[in-house]
Symmetry: C3
Subunit: 176 residues, 3 copies
Amino acid sequence: MKIQILLRKIKNAPKAFKFVWYLYLNKIARFSVLPSLLSVLGIKNFRSYLWRKSGCNVGKDVFIGWDVYYDVGNAKLITIEDEVSITNRAIVFCHRRDLSHYYKGDNYKNVPFIKLPVVIKKGAAVGTAAIIMPGVTIGEGAVVAAGALVTKDVPAWTIVAGCPAKVIKVLEDRTE
Amino acid sequence: MKIQILLRKIKNAPKAFKFVWYLYLNKIARFSVLPSLLSVLGIKNFRSYLWRKSGCNVGKDVFIGWDVYYDVGNAKLITIEDEVSITNRAIVFCHRRDLSHYYKGDNYKNVPFIKLPVVIKKGAAVGTAAIIMPGVTIGEGAVVAAGALVTKDVPAWTIVAGCPAKVIKVLEDRTE
Amino acid sequence: MKIQILLRKIKNAPKAFKFVWYLYLNKIARFSVLPSLLSVLGIKNFRSYLWRKSGCNVGKDVFIGWDVYYDVGNAKLITIEDEVSITNRAIVFCHRRDLSHYYKGDNYKNVPFIKLPVVIKKGAAVGTAAIIMPGVTIGEGAVVAAGALVTKDVPAWTIVAGCPAKVIKVLEDRTE
C-alpha cells in the first residue's frame, strides 16, 4: 500500500518534518470542507481522526468545529475526553513564556517557555472563538461561553464567560 | 449551459450536500483573494453574491470583509439590510444550545438547539472580530466595536463595545 | 529570469492590482505551511519577508505566527522593530472610520476614514488573537496578553490585558 509506506516514512522522519505534517493535518481539519462532506456521507468524526493522527488524545464522539487550532507542536499535552464539543475558531494552547522570569531590560525571546497540559473532561463544551490557555482543565459537563479567555481551571458543571473567564452559573440538579 | 445544469443539479441534491456546497461558497468568500480581484476589475459585492447564493438575505451595497463566517446551516435566518458593513473576521451565529434545559449530570449533546434570526438593519456596522449571537437585531446605523460579543439587541444609532457588548455612546443629532 | 520580469511587471501595475497581490502574499503568510517547512529547512523569517514584500517595515529576527493579519492596504503605516514576537491570529489595523464625525441619520459609509501608523517597538510581544487598533504604539519590551484589544499606547516594559487592554503589571528591574 503506497499510502502506508508514505505514512511509515513520515513516522520515521525527523521531528521537525513531522511538525510541518501535523500542521498540515490541522490545516485540513480547520479549513477544508472535506470533514463536512464525509460527515454527510456517513463518515463522522474525521476532524477527531486528524487531531489524533497529529498527536492529541481525543476520545469518542467528540465534536470539533471549523478553524479550531490546537498547539500542534505540543499536541501530546492535549486530552479531549468523550462527548466533548469544541466549537468554531476556538484555540487550545499548551505553551507560553514564563513571564515570572521576565524583567525590565530582558530579551523576551530568551524568557523560558512553560509547557502545561490541557484537559477537557467528558461532555464539556468550548464556545466559539474561546481561548484555552496552558495548564487549564475544563471540568466534566462544563460550558465555556463564546469569546471567553480561559486562564484558570473550570469547575465541573459550571458555565464560564468573559475575558478572563469567570463562573457565571453553577448548574443545578434536576428537580423533576 | 453546463454551469446552469450543474447549478440545477445542486439545487435538487439533498439538503446535506447543499450544506457542504454552501460551506464551500462561504470558504471562497472568507479566504479567496478573488472578491478583491473582481472588485479591482469593477465587479463589486462578490462576497454579498456568495452569501445570497448560500441562503442569506443580503441587501444592496453591503460591504463584507475577509474571513467573515455566518451560520451556513441556518443562513435563511440571517438578514443583512442595505448599506451594512461587516468587517474582517466577524461571526454571525443563529443557533446555540438552550442552556436553560441543561442540568448537572445531563449529556450536553442532548440539550436542544434554539435557532433564532439575526437581523442587521440598514447602515449598521459590525467591527473586526465581533461575534453576533443568535436572536440579535442590530439597529439602524448602529456600530459594533471591534472584538465585541453581542448577546442582546443593539439599539439604533448607538455604539456598543465589550464582552458582553454594552452601549458606550448614543449618537446625537447633527446640530449644524 | 522569468520571475524577475513578472515581479517588475507587478511593480509597474496599478496600485489596485498590487493590493490584491499583497493580499495574496499575506494569505500565504497566514495559512500556508510553507513558512514552517522553510523554517525546518533552515530558512527562518519567511513570514517577515512576505510582510516586507507587501509594504510593512519589519526589523530583524521578528517572529510572526500563523493567521496574523495586518492592514494590507495601509502596510506602509506598520513598523515592526527588531526581535518582536507576534503570535497567532493577531490583527494589526491602521484605518478606521472617524466616529467623531458620525451623527444620527448619517450614512456610515460616508464617514471619513482616519489612517494612523502602528509601531511595535523592539522586543515587544503581541499575544494570540490580540487586536491592535490604528495609531497604537507598543513600547519596548511590552507584552500584550492573549485576546487583548489594544486601543491606546502601551508603555514600555509593561504587560497589558483585557478588552480594552489595561496595564496589569509593570515589569521590574532585576535585583539579582
